[in-house]
């Protein structure tokens, strides 16, 4: 976890929850749970009782995408297709709200309970998703404990500073996001103002490179690097990004901790807060 304390604390907490809660698994709780979505994979890993999870999605083991890739190594993975999932004989399938509709309909027609989770659009959504997962798995007490811990940590991390630097989140294909997204909310919680809102983006949109330069943010936070090459990514390496003297170009901060509405987003907030503190220190 590269010198970052928070995720390991979260994992320790989860481990404790899993161990103490094992005996309390109710009769009505699902016994064969299959997750087909990266975010439900991670929430399930945090809350499920031992033996409750049968299979996770392939992405759960990808260290570039999953904050819990190591924990996921212990489980078999599935390709998220209806046929494959059905043959695992699940009594509960965990899916995202954007999982292929045909897959979900097929599984429901076959008589399998499917619980869908909407992607988090803000930090405030995270407790809701944890509670939903707790209810789905029959692990409400563990979910409540995790939510309490999350709220306390978030409150400790997000103390609004006197000076809020102006930051831009800049992704492949000149994409940027505003405040009403999970990434935008992470940025806000870490004490930054988002320049995307200055030009009217609440959600996401294309911000031309020259518009970004003219906004002259204090820091440009680039999206993660993907394996292989593509022309769409070249905008992140454009020399103009480095030509502004007052602007710091931060590396690929928006990694796996930013993708899903799980307590791991706190590690994203913490890394960004460290970036803000280093800006203040004039580095």
């Amino acid at each position: 976890m590269r010198g970052c304390v928070r995720p390991s604390k979260v994992i320790a907490l989860i481990a404790a929850l899993v161990l103490t809660g094992a005996a309390a698994l109710a009769e009505t709780a699902p016994k064969r749970v299959v997750s087909v979505n990266l975010c439900t994979d991670q929430l399930a890993l945090m809350l499920a009782a031992p033996g409750q999870i049968v299979s996770l999605s392939h992405l759960s083991q990808d260290p570039d995408s999953s904050s819990m890739a190591e924990a996921a190594q212990a489980y078999p993975t599935n390709g998220s297709g209806a046929e494959e999932v059905y043959l695992l004989k699940p009594d509960l399938v965990l899916a995202g709200s954007f999982t292929a509709a045909s897959t979900i309909q097929m599984l429901r027609d076959l008589g399998i309970r499917v619980e869908q989770f909407a992607p988090a659009r803000s930090l405030e959504d995270v407790p809701d998703r944890i509670a939903q997962m707790g209810a789905a798995l029959g692990r409400e007490p563990q979910a409540r404990a995790l939510i309490r811990r999350f709220r306390a940590d978030l409150a400790r991390l997000s103390i609004s500073p006197a000076h809020r630097p102006r930051a831009a989140l800049y992704y492949v294909n000149s994409y940027t996001v505003g405040d009403r997204t999970l990434a935008g909310d992470i940025l806000r919680a870490a004490g930054f103002d988002n320049v995307a809102t200055e030009v009217g983006f609440a959600r996401g949109g294309t911000l031309a490179l020259e518009q970004l330069i003219l906004l002259a943010p204090d820091v440009i936070i680039r999206g993660r690097d993907y394996p292989g090459q593509s022309r769409a990514e070249e905008v992140l390496a454009h020399p103009a990004l480095h030509a502004l003297h007052q602007t710091r170009v931060a590396g690929t901060l928006t990694d796996r901790d930013w993708i899903c509405g799980t307590p791991m987003v706190l590690s994203a907030v913490e890394k960004l807060r460290d970036l803000r503190l280093s800006l203040e220190a004039g580095e």
Partner: protein
Amino acid sequence: MRLAIGMVLLVAALFVASLLSGQAPVGAGQSLQALVAGDGTPLSVVMREIRLPRALLAAMIGAVLGLSGAAMQGYLRNPLAEPGLIGISGAAALGAVLAIQTGLSLMFPLALPLAALGMAVLAVLLILMLAGPRGASITLILAGIAISALAGALISLALNLSPNPFAAADIVFWMMGSLADRSFTHVWLALPFMAVGAALLASLGRGLDALTLGEDAAQAMGVNLTGLRLRLVLGTAACVGAATAVAGAIGFVGLVVPHLLRPAVGARPSALLWASALGGAAMVLAADIAVRELLPARDLKLGVLMALVGAPLFLHLIYKTRKEMA
């Protein structure tokens, strides 16, 4: 002479217009001042690092594509011979995609234009072999269709196999071409190849003029046809390869521009060479301004605009050639 001065002025005017065209609403005087001053303000960074290389690339790419079209048409004595239509651009794009996807261009930046040039040489040789010295329209077009289709399919294959989630979307860029967010890195990558290619093609003027009288007459006048052919192959491949490597396949420039200018230069291939270079620069500059002004937020591809202008003309030319053949 009047034509030359007029066209130079047109290219200069479009170059300035291109510098002033963009998403950021800034006054013309202020922009140009920032360009000259280079004082590190955001506006001067935009002018120097984003808009200047873009305008330079538009002019350079247009010039070499116009020149290549005029040279190919002069050599094959066929107005349908255009690098994009006969598959040279497509093959060059395939070379560029292979250089990028194998990671070769990361280790060695010049691999990008070199790979595009290599595939372009293959395509030109194949075309010349298939179409024969007289460049019969039907074989030329059929060979072009085959090479373009194969190159397009292999580009799609290479990009679909890429581990990068955005690579597949790049297919549109390689097929249609765009100058969005290019930088001086690309200018310096392409410039040496374009300069050598353009010099080779410009040296063809006398030979192409002689060739209008037929091969025998040209040889009798002391034109070395083998040397002419070699310079044509290398010159076209260098020009189209470099242009495609940095901006994708931009079609129809070499078709439309020589067609429009041929009457103005009295159909002399040597005069058509420089006129098409200037005309091509003007056309791509104008098209690149149009893609930014028509749909500023959408990164409209240059090739779309070119095809809208070029395809009807192409159909018209096919129709005319058919009547001549009948």
